[in-house]
């Protein structure tokens, strides 16, 4: 597959960059944070994204989407990473659309995909239960109750869980904790009786909650995919999120580098522009090299999800492992090269460092991904 964007993709990228720069730059996130906005994203901006078709980028045309594939979805995520735009895009347009589009029942698809495509329905994925991402460590249970199930347990680090209308939750229907078999996926209304949300004040100022389920009743048709067989669909849904986060981190890393290079050309010390110092030139050029290759591995992962999703796990793990490291390097180097001003809240670099930290941890950090990579490679 070509490693350059085609015309349609280039147009989408340019349109996304233009819109986000004008309507959702870092100053928007700052304003959301400072005003104490409870949603932690701007609903008008999200509605506009829905109108432009972004929320339906992975939804098929029969269900009202534009069906442009993962590479296109990644381009939007990358541009959002550049501007740090807060939105439920990743959990809704990438993961939610993948979950229902690939594994949903006809009725689930008909009910939810059109609403996802317009941005009307916000989704969240509730997977983790502890401080680290361990998708097979599921202690949450779904026990048979009449024609349906009762779900009990606690889910941590649920991105957009505070604003979602529907939650996709993993629960154990069989097997013991840590086992791959026996995990099932349920689609649960966020306002169902028995769900308690605990909002967290996250370092990246984005929406994240802990959800506790206390005998939450769902119908039998709330299952996504097959009962006890949720592990494999879950992996694909998570891969969609991981690739999206890798793309987002790529955009953030590029923005950090670009801000830093601009600063190196402007700041003067010792009677010189500091960009003249080779010590700084080499730091910046090393970072540039890392980012160039990182962009390419993200592209490979997204293309893999488009062309052969069943074989995409290796490249997705590689991409998220690599971007976790490269984006953190970008944020760290940017602060170092900016000097004291980079440490101030008034300057934007800190926002990047904090969001990159969260994106790196979400759905498996760089260590986790490297471990998955080695396992898949057989060592």
């Amino acid at each position: 597959m070509a490693m350059v964007l085609d015309e349609e993709q280039s147009m989408l990228r340019d349109a996304a960059r233009g819109f986000l720069t004008d309507h959702a730059p870092v100053s928007q996130l700052r304003k959301l944070r400072d005003s104490g906005n409870e949603d932690k994203f701007d609903r008008a901006t999200w509605a506009a994204m829905g109108e432009m078709g972004w929320a339906g980028v992975l939804v098929d045309e029969d269900h009202g989407g534009v069906d442009m594939g993962f590479q296109a979805a990644g381009l939007i995520a990358e541009e959002m990473g550049r501007t740090l735009t807060a939105s439920p895009y990743l959990s809704t347009a990438m993961m939610g659309a993948t979950a229902l589009g690939a594994y949903g029942t006809t009725s689930q698809k008909e009910t939810w995909l059109p609403k996802i495509a317009t941005g009307e329905a916000i989704m969240a994925i509730a997977v983790d239960e502890g401080r680290k991402h361990r998708p097979q460590q599921v202690a949450t249970t779904a026990s048979k109750s009449g024609n349906g199930f009762k779900i009990s347990g606690t889910k941590t680090f649920v991105a957009d869980g505070g604003v979602a209308e529907q939650i996709i939750v993993t629960a154990r229907t069989a097997g013991g904790e840590g086992e791959k078999e026996g995990i099932s996926l349920f689609l649960v209304s966020a306002d169902a009786a028995g769900i308690t949300k605990t909002h967290h004040d996250m370092i990246d100022s984005r929406n994240s909650v802990t959800l506790s389920f206390d005998d939450v009743e769902v119908d039998g048709d709330a299952i996504i995919g097959e009962i006890d067989g949720g592990a494999s669909p879950l992996n694909h849904i998570l891969n969609a999120g991981r690739a999206g986060l890798a793309a987002e981190m790529s955009g953030s890393a590029q923005a950090c580098l670009s801000m830093t290079v601009d600063y190196l050309k402007e700041r003067k010390q010792f009677g010189k522009t500091i960009g003249e110092f080779q010590a700084l030139q080499h730091r910046a050029s090393h970072l540039y090299s890392e980012i160039e290759l990182a962009k390419a591995v993200v592209m490979k992962a997204l293309q893999g999800l488009d062309s052969a999703p069943e074989h995409a796990s290796l490249m997705v793990a590689a991409a998220k492992a690599k971007l976790g490291q490269v984006a953190q390097l970008a944020a760290q180097e940017s602060i170092q090269m900016h000097g004291g001003i980079g440490m101030t809240d008034e300057y934007d670099i800190g926002f990047y460092m904090k969001r990159i930290r969260v994106a790196e941890a979400l759905y498996g950090d760089s260590h986790y991904q490297a471990d998955i990579y080695a396992k898949l490679r057989g060592f």
Binding site: Q281, S289, E290, L293, V297, A370, K375, F379
Partner: protein
């Protein structure tokens, strides 16, 4: 496309019929490859036959014009040929600095006479070339070179010393950067000249490296003679030719980051063993996973940068990214191979000569422009930093 399919089928058939069995596996090292030249002794009949047959097809240099020993293939046809050779695991019939480095420069800057005189023997593997660039006092600062070239009316006379000349002791001709104007600023007084090494004025001396091998030489010019028609490009404008050629060398060296041979994770699993499906040495396992991931990123990056270049996007200076990253990656890779090999990797002449290869890689980030020089190029031509 139909034509390309026909070409593929014909190529496949020809290769199957003409590539000797012994030539259907990769070379085990520089010693196993076919380099050609006046004094070349073929390792076996298969090596000779393979070269002769490929030469007759023009496929040692498939994209060069037919009149210069090539086959005049289009880029797409050449790609088909490469993929069909790969399918058969057919090795390259001829390794050659003439093909990789001098050829492209001559095709771009040479006179019709120079092309005729030099390209055909390169394509046929009859003349082996080496590159005379670095000097004892001109390494990274190559443009400060001082090898003198004087106009003696009917010929040029060259005096000076080159160093790090790869395989000079085995080469027939050398392309040399010489100073033709000592008054001009350093980049503008340099010329690019071709010199026959079969003369008393040229002597070579191999340099023994830490790896125990001697791939490089010192090359001495003592009133060596070169024809008036052997300057490539304009006199005093050799730096332009040299820079063009260096971009080819950089791409060639960065290609060494290409995971040649068995991926290191597999090698380590075999050497150290697994425990519950994981490499028994958990810290090494992490380092190897990281290295392989960076290798994937490098390969993807190379593909992307080449795609962009073909589409007229991106910047030529990205070759420096590949040179920098590819060579640093290759050094890391060999460090891990030493870690994985343990005490068995610490003996000379061990299987696959791990230690010698490990030591050799230390030159990767020095030759063809050091890593620091590549970072300077990125700073200047990509990031546009002041004073770079």
């Amino acid at each position: 496309m139909a034509d390309l399919d026909t070409f593929r089928m014909e190529t496949r058939k020809w290769l199957e019929e003409n590539c000797p069995e012994e030539m259907r596996h990769g070379v085990t090292g520089d010693e196993d490859a076919c380099w050609g030249g006046r004094h070349w002794t073929f390792k076996n009949d298969a090596q000779r036959l393979w070269l002769e047959r490929m030469v007759a097809k023009g496929w040692t240099v498939p994209e060069w014009p037919v009149e210069y020993g090539g086959a005049g293939l289009s880029k797409a046809e050449a790609k088909v040929l490469r993929s069909e050779m790969k399918r058969l695991n057919a090795r390259s019939p001829l390794d050659s600095f003439g093909i990789w480095m001098l050829g492209p420069a001559l095709l771009k800057y040479g006179t019709p006479e120079q092309k005729k005189e030099h390209l055909i023997p390169i394509a046929r593997g009859e003349i082996r070339w080496c590159q005379g660039y670095s000097e004892p006092n001109a390494g990274s600062d190559l443009a400060s070179l001082m090898t003198k070239c004087e106009d003696k009316g009917d010929h040029y006379e060259i005096t000076g010393q080159k160093v790090w000349t790869s395989y000079a002791d085995k080469a027939d001709w050398i392309f040399v950067l010489v100073r033709t104007d000592f008054e001009a600023t350093k980049h503008t007084g340099i010329s690019f000249i071709l010199v026959d090494m079969d003369q008393p004025g040229v002597t070579t001396k191999p340099i023994r490296l830490i790896s125990g091998k001697s791939p490089f030489c010192e090359t001495f010019f003592d009133n060596a003679v070169a024809g008036k028609d052997q300057i490539v490009g304009e006199i005093n404008k050799g730096w332009t030719v040299a820079k063009y050629l260096l971009t080819h060398e950089r791409e060639m060296i960065s290609g060494m980051g290409d995971a040649m041979g068995r991926p290191i994770g597999d090698l380590a699993a075999m050497q150290i063993g697994l425990e519950d499906g994981k490499l028994e040495d958990s810290m090494l396992r992490t380092d190897i996973a990281r290295l392989e991931i960076d290798g994937l990123a490098f390969m993807a990056g190379m593909e992307k940068i080449i795609s962009e270049a073909k589409a007229g996007q991106g910047t030529g200076a990205n070759a420096s990214v590949l040179k920098y990253y590819g060579t640093e990656l290759n050094k890391r890779r060999h460090e891990l191979m030493m870690d994985s090999g343990g005490s068995e990797a610490l003996t000379w002449g061990a299987e696959e000569d791990i230690a010698a290869h490990w030591l050799r890689t230390k030159a990767n980030s020095i030759e063809g422009g050091t890593s620091e020089v590549q970072l300077n190029i990125i700073s200047k031509h990509i990031l546009d930093l002041p004073g770079a």
